[in-house]
Symmetry: C2
Subunit: 338 residues, 2 copies
DNA sequence: CCATTGTGTTGAATCGTTTCACCATTAAGC
DNA sequence: GCTTAATGGTGAAACGATTCAACACAATGG
């Protein structure tokens, strides 16, 4: 219970605290004898370093804070994995905060990580966080934005061109002869959603005779997708869209489940369906799901890379902006009617 | 860059550091006037608390360390969610470590959290971690085990009866008239895997004429499932099992993908397939997947509960052991042959 | 008018580690 | 044998927030 500290170790080993610290942090500068004694003292006492004290002295921790919208979304868990691997190479650890798309919780995590004096922050921000992030930047907190960038070019960022992705998806639907397009997604305050919608809008605008309807969801989850699908299946057949672009794969899979349950709507015959992210489960769905693929792991990897460069460069750092291009993946859910 | 600290705030506000601390931590005991001045000073300086210093004094942080095998597995992301919600109620934050089933990384996270003097630890341990956890318990680190328990009853634990679950799954397969059962999963060093296998073994043992084959995988992922499925589909039809029990849904979905890709094997006609966890995607699969359901969110929730009780009780705490019962979910992937 | 109570505020001690200027001891050089 | 270097080791001063005994001052009661 009473925690063992460096002094206890030093006493038992019969050396000074400085030497114990040296054994731990600069093994080269210490004699065999002392090193031996210290290590065995550590062992018998079960000494565990106190990171708070280390950090207090060092001024900064060896953890990177990563704030994501939804870890239940495979896109983000892949992204996390990419970030973790790159971080591990530099002997850094990733601390993960899941906001469930809630701005309040986003704020809590950002503040928590700031107070922890993390090495740096990786955020895919909901809009409201930006002023706070600017303020924290002034206090020396390096941040890399994901799927977001600022006009003033103050932050490094790594993103996928969501507008292009949205356009890709809907262009494909239009090419397959669909014209009554519906965009399912929300809330539009999420950048990814509004950008993908913007792409959809562009595609439809270039195609005379095509229409775009918006089906709002409260979040980007399977459950919300089911709900949206249910609402659509309740409509009279004539009032239904002939194609749906879902803001992500979770929604799309939910919609698919709802259609299947209703027994009234066949994908792709009645309605074509395309999602976004190309998660592993998209290919395994009831009707293999067309989607727009993003290099999720690479995004996480690259974000850490940018962060490392920024911290290394210090004050005179020129923020970088990296944009990946999305890729269309065509499967059965958008094949031709027959 | 130069970080702002309490003293800076105190100076600007024209009060002592003690008073600033009071404004932050005991707002009731401070006059309007001082409070006002301090808050505005904090605002103009952009002061951010230093958690390291707080913790050093407090001796313990307000974060719970949660170590999971694989965040890409929806079972674990649901569990995390349950834990986070319960933690939030107590004004605690969850720090997440993903080991990807790697004992080395598990050890890194456990040590990291111990050094951070987290409020407590929630682990679903790979076997090798137990000695370390015992040692850390002596140093005052409270730990709740998930899907694991020790004979000596030293740790609180929350688990689902994986043996019963495995038996449930295979009993079902046998009832549907299958006899050449295969268990797909691995490594067997993972407790969940060996327990579920044990359940399968029991079921088969009670059923004369039934056989049980083991198909090893390196991890519990969709990719490994695909690989295993591929290997099976390469065999001559007569050498294939007529039912597969996969150690989790990710594997099962991978197997399903491989069979579908091969075009040679139909589920459930040629081979019945059942998974474990009943993740959201199981119901949406190409062939809706039978599975064994676990109360994932509740597990996380309960684990935090146990931890809170343990920390509150202090030294004279009697570890508790909670076991949930799994539930069979039957879908098309195990329906009768026709 | 003094004693008592209460309300705010202060300053110094504390938490455990790291760092660094400064000793001790030995080895090498002449 | 004495100086110079080199090698190990030491102890005290940070780091920044919290806590708490002590104090200042005002209000109340007798």
């Amino acid at each position: 219970m009473a925690t063992v500290n460096l002094r206890d170790v030093a006493t038992l080993a019969g050396v000074s605290v400085g030497s114990v610290s040296n054994v731990l942090n600069r093994p080269g500068t210490v004699s065999q004898d002392v090193s031996q004694r210290v290590l065995s003292a550590i062992d018998t006492l079960g000494y565990v370093r106190n990171d708070a004290a280390r950090q207090l002295r060092a001024g900064r921790s060896r953890c990177i804070g990563l704030v994501v919208l939804d870890i239940a979304n495979p896109f983000f868990s892949d992204l996390v994995r990419g970030a973790e691997r790159r971080a591990a190479e530099e002997n850094l650890t990733v601390l993960l905060g899941d906001t469930e798309e809630d701005p309040a919780r986003e704020r809590v995590y950002i503040d928590l990580f700031a107070e922890q004096r993390v090495y740096g922050l990786l955020v895919s921000p909901l809009g409201e966080a930006m002023p706070r992030l600017r303020a924290l930047k002034k206090q020396g907190l390096s941040t890399v934005l994901m799927d977001w960038h600022t006009e003033d070019h103050q932050f490094s960022s790594v993103a996928v061109d969501n507008v292009a992705g949205g356009k890709l998806a809907v262009d494909h639907l239009l090419e397959m002869g669909r014209t009554r397009i519906a965009f399912a997604g929300g809330p539009h305050s999420i950048r990814q959603v509004s950008d993908r919608f913007e792409g959809a809008r562009k595609a439809v605008a270039q195609h005379p005779g095509a229409t775009l309807e918006v089906i709002d969801t409260q979040s980007l989850t399977v459950l919300q997708g089911r709900e949206a699908g249910h609402r659509i299946s309740q409509r009279k057949a004539a009032a239904r869209p002939d194609a749906i672009f879902a803001a992500n794969d979770l929604l799309a899979l939910g919609v698919l489940q709802a259609f299947n349950l209703s027994g009234r709507i066949s994908v792709p015959n009645d309605i074509a369906l395309i999602g976004y992210d190309d998660i592993d489960f998209a290919a395994a769905a009831m009707v293999p799901l067309s989607s727009v693929k993003q290099p999720s792991t690479e995004i996480g990897h690259t974000a850490v890379d940018l962060l490392l460069r920024e911290v290394a460069a210090g004050a005179d750092f020129e923020p970088e902006r990296i944009v990946f291009q999305p890729e269309l993946v065509i499967r059965d859910s958008t094949s031709a009617q027959h």
